[in-house]
Subunit: 350 residues, 2 copies
Amino acid sequence: MRRVVDSGRSPATLAVVAARSGVSAKTVSRVINNEPGVRAETRARVLAAIQQLDYQPNLAARGLAGDRSFLIGLFYDQPGDYLSEFQTGAVQRCHESNLHLMIEPLEASSPDLRRHLSTLIRQLRLEGVILLPPLGDLPAVHATLAAADVPAVLIAPMHARLDAPVVDTDDRAAARDLTGALLERGHRRIAFMRGRPSHRATEQRYLGFADAMRAHGVDIDAALVQSGNFEFAEGLECARRMLSHRPRPTAIFASNDDMAAAAVSAARQLSLALPEQLSVVGFDDAPVATMIWPQLTTVRQPVRTLGRVAADLISEYQPHRHGWPQPAPRRRVPLEMIIRGSIGTAPADA
Amino acid sequence: MRRVVDSGRSPATLAVVAARSGVSAKTVSRVINNEPGVRAETRARVLAAIQQLDYQPNLAARGLAGDRSFLIGLFYDQPGDYLSEFQTGAVQRCHESNLHLMIEPLEASSPDLRRHLSTLIRQLRLEGVILLPPLGDLPAVHATLAAADVPAVLIAPMHARLDAPVVDTDDRAAARDLTGALLERGHRRIAFMRGRPSHRATEQRYLGFADAMRAHGVDIDAALVQSGNFEFAEGLECARRMLSHRPRPTAIFASNDDMAAAAVSAARQLSLALPEQLSVVGFDDAPVATMIWPQLTTVRQPVRTLGRVAADLISEYQPHRHGWPQPAPRRRVPLEMIIRGSIGTAPADA
DNA sequence: AGAAGAAATGTCAGCGCTGTCAATCCAGCC
DNA sequence: GGCTGGATTGACAGCGCTGACATTTCTTCT
C-alpha cells in the first residue's frame, strides 16, 4: 500500500463536481450561481456532490470568466474608533451576498489620490465602493469612480448626489431631542460646540439644536456657539472659553463625545460639580462616553448597522440597469438618545 | 465627426501592451513580475508602453494563471479602537508588495469557526493571514490553516509556536519601567489590575510589575492584585474594591487604559484628588488616555507599526521553502512610556 | 399520438495571464 | 568563420469558470 504525500492537495474543481453528480460543468455553474432553469432534483444532486467534495469555487476563475470580481472596496480617510465597527457590519452583509470587502485607506488630501484610487479600482475590478466621510464629497473621487463606472455608496456626505445612494442618520432630529432633554431640565443658557466643518453632521446637529431652542422660545447666545473641530484638544480650549463666559452656561451641547469629554475635563479643572453646576451632552456614544465620570448623555451611532446598510445597497445594485435608479436610494438609520449621568436640573441660581 | 460612447471602455490588456512595445506577451509578463532575464532596453520599452496605455494587469487573470491570489487576510475577533490603526499599517505595507488586504471578523467562540475560516481561505486562496489576539492561540485556527497550507503571522500570542512567526512588544520591560516611575515617586502600596486571562499581555505586564517591585524590595500585597478583564465596567468594580481596602493603595497600575480610566472614575466618585491622593497608570495609550483629567501616564502601543511589521513578515515569506524557516522569525517592536498628569508623589501621610 | 413550445441541460470557446519548454540571439573562443 | 553555451525571447497550452448558443427533454394541447 502506497501513500502519496500531498500537502498541497489540489482542491476539487467544478469539473470534478460535475463528474461526480453526473451533469455538465455548466449545470454545476448554474447551481453555484443560483441561476434559474435547473430542476430541483438536479440541483439537489449537485449540491450534494459539492458538499461531499467540500468544493469551493475559485474566485479568480469566476471573476475572470464572468468579468466580475466579487470585491467591494471600503475607503476611509481617517481611521477612527467607529471604523472597525462599521466594517464589521459591512463585511457581514457582504458575506451574505458572497462578496468580499477590501478596506483601503485613502488620503483625502493626497495629491495622487486619483492615481491611487484608479489603480486600485482597475486592478481589483471592484464592483462597488463605500465612501466614508469625507471621501464622499470629493469631486476627484467621484470623477475617478465615474470614469471607471464603479457604483459608490456615500456615508453621510455633506451634499447628496443624484447619482449615488446615501446612507445616513437623522442627526438633526436627534440633536433636537437631545437639546429637548436639556430644556426640559430647565437649562436656558446652553453652549453649543460645533464639529469639523467638512462633516455633514456638524451642520445638521447645529440645526437640530437651533430647532429645539426656537421651539422653546429660547434665544441662542452667539458667543456660546463655537467650534471644537470634533477633537478633544480643541474641545478643551473651546470649553474653557465657554466656561469663562459670564453668565456661565449651565449646559454644554458638544457635537461629539470627544469634545464632550473635553468639556467634562475643563469643568473638572475649574472644580465645577457635574452635573449639579454643569450639564454636558455629547454625540456618538463613543467608547469614552462610558469611560468618564459622570457618564455622558449622548446619542448612539448605529455604526455597525450603517455598515450593513451600505453593503446592502451595493449588493442590491443592479448593474444591468445603467447606473443607479433615479433618484438613487437613500437610507436613513434611526438614532437613539441615551440619558446618562452627565445631565441634571439646571442650577436654581443661574 | 463621430463619437462612440464607450462608458465600459475595455482596459488595455497585456496583449495590447505587447503589440505596442513589439515584444511577446510573455516578455511583458516578465516585466510586470520583475523577473530576471529581460534586457534593460527591452524592459524600458515595455514599461513605456505600460505607461502610455495606462495598463493595469488583471488580478483575477494573474491569480488564475499563476495560482496565486495576491491576497492577505487579516482576522480579528473583537473590533477595537486599535484595529483600524493596525490595518492601516498593514495595508500600507501590503501595497508596497502589490498585495491586498482582506479584513475578516472571526468569532473565536463560534462553533463553525473552522468551516467559516476554511471557506474563506479556500475561496480566496489567501496567500497568508495575520491573526490578531486571541485568534493566534486557537488550535482550531492553526489546524485549519495548516490543512490549507496557509502561512500565518501571530500578533502577541500567549504561546509562541515554532512554525509561525510572531510580532509582539516587550510588555514586561515596559511594565517594569512604568512601575519604576511609581516607585521613584515614593509609592509602595501599589495595586495591580490584571487584564483578560486569554491575552499574553496580561501575564507579561504583571511580570514586569513584579520584577520592578522585587528589584526595589517592595512586597506585593496579594489583596491588591485583582482582575478587571481589560474592561471599563469590570475595572470600575475592581477599583472600588481596591480603594476601599485599608490601608488604601497610593497608586493603581491598570493593565490597560480603559481600566485606568475606570480607576480614575472610581477615585472621582470617592472624591479623591488626583494625583495628590492617588496615582494611576494605564497601558496602551488608547484614545481615552488623553480624554480624561488628569491625563493618563501610560505606554504607547505602536499599533500601526505592528500592522506594518506583520505585513512585512508575510511579504517576505518565501513560499518555495517548505514552511517558515526554523525557528520562525520573531519581531519585537519597541514600546514607549508616556508620563502624564495622572501620577504624582506618594502622599506623605500614607 | 404528434406537433409546438417551454424547460432543462450540454457544448465550446475564451476571459487575461503565466508555466513550460523551444527557439533565437550573441559574445567569446579556437 | 564556425562552434558553444549562456542570455533573451517567444509559442502555446491551459488555469477554472461562465457566456452564447445548440441540443435534448419534458409538457401541453389538439
